[in-house]
Symmetry: C2
Subunit: 160 residues, 2 copies
């Protein structure tokens, strides 16, 4: 396999850009991610791949829960704030107002037009990112008319 062809082919996969959050006993964590897909209608499952050495990974592993936020096409600045280490001050996480999710306790960002809460059902820890399969147990929509942010529109890449 030619490494360059592998990189170009894998980067042709289409992604959104999301903020994933979690809450363990004494710690909140949040990161920008793009490796996410639905994985079943019934039960409603999603699959997300999370960097194995990240704080978010530790928090999701500990708590067995996470939340995913879909941002609007004009909210790249919101996602970018979550490429940094997590910082919590009062009801702000990385500068964004949040409330704990009713189903999971994971921080829910008020700025996100779409979000869902998930409980991990299965974990595949095989590579530098861990695959979490999770059931969707809560969801909300604040602006159903907002087109979602896509990775391609940002000019960034994460994959290959």
């Amino acid at each position: 396999m030619d490494p360059q062809e592998k990189k170009v082919a894998l980067r042709a996969i289409t992604y959104g850009l999301y903020v994933m959050t979690g809450a363990a006993a004494d710690q909140l964590a949040a990161d920008g991610i793009n490796w996410l897909s639905q994985a079943s209608f019934e039960p409603p499952l999603v699959v997300a791949a999370v960097k194995a050495d990240s704080t978010l990974h530790a928090v999701v592993t500990d708590s067995g829960c996470f939340a995913v936020h879909v941002l609007g096409e004009d909210q790249l600045d919101v996602v970018k704030a979550f490429f940094r280490s997590t910082s919590v001050e009062g009801d702000l996480i990385n500068g964004q107002r949040f409330t704990p999710g009713a189903a999971t306790g994971a921080p829910l960002l008020e700025v996100a037009p779409y979000w869902f809460e998930c409980r991990v059902t299965d974990t595949v820890a095989r590579g530098d990112h861990t695959v979490f399969v999770a059931e969707v147990v809560g969801a909300g929509v604040r602006d159903a008319a907002r087109p979602p942010l896509t990775l391609r529109a940002t000019g960034m890449n994460y994959g290959g």
Copy 2:
């Protein structure tokens, strides 16, 4: 959880639209899919969710291998041909010329600008679709300048 909010939130996830193929001992199979993501850089892993009662699912389960094709933005007609049952005539599968992949034997569509071959490493069979985690073992690019087909651009939905 409100079912309508769940549906709208999950449909805000961004997807491409792909053709996935497989080859078992005496059978080829191919379907259009969109639930796909990379899942690790090293080793290079992807994750795909495949309808549990499909022929493609049986073929991937039997062979432990599959191929994924990323189509160009102008190739919706190609993907649509794979929403039907698989039909093979000579070197055509659903009307598209193919050759067996060197690494997996899965049919590789000549029309696709990007493709990769995968070997299944882990399976999570929890919902109406099965999650296959798989290592990328072959890849090719025929037109690196071709923008990929996205699900949103088609006006179709598969998720929610």
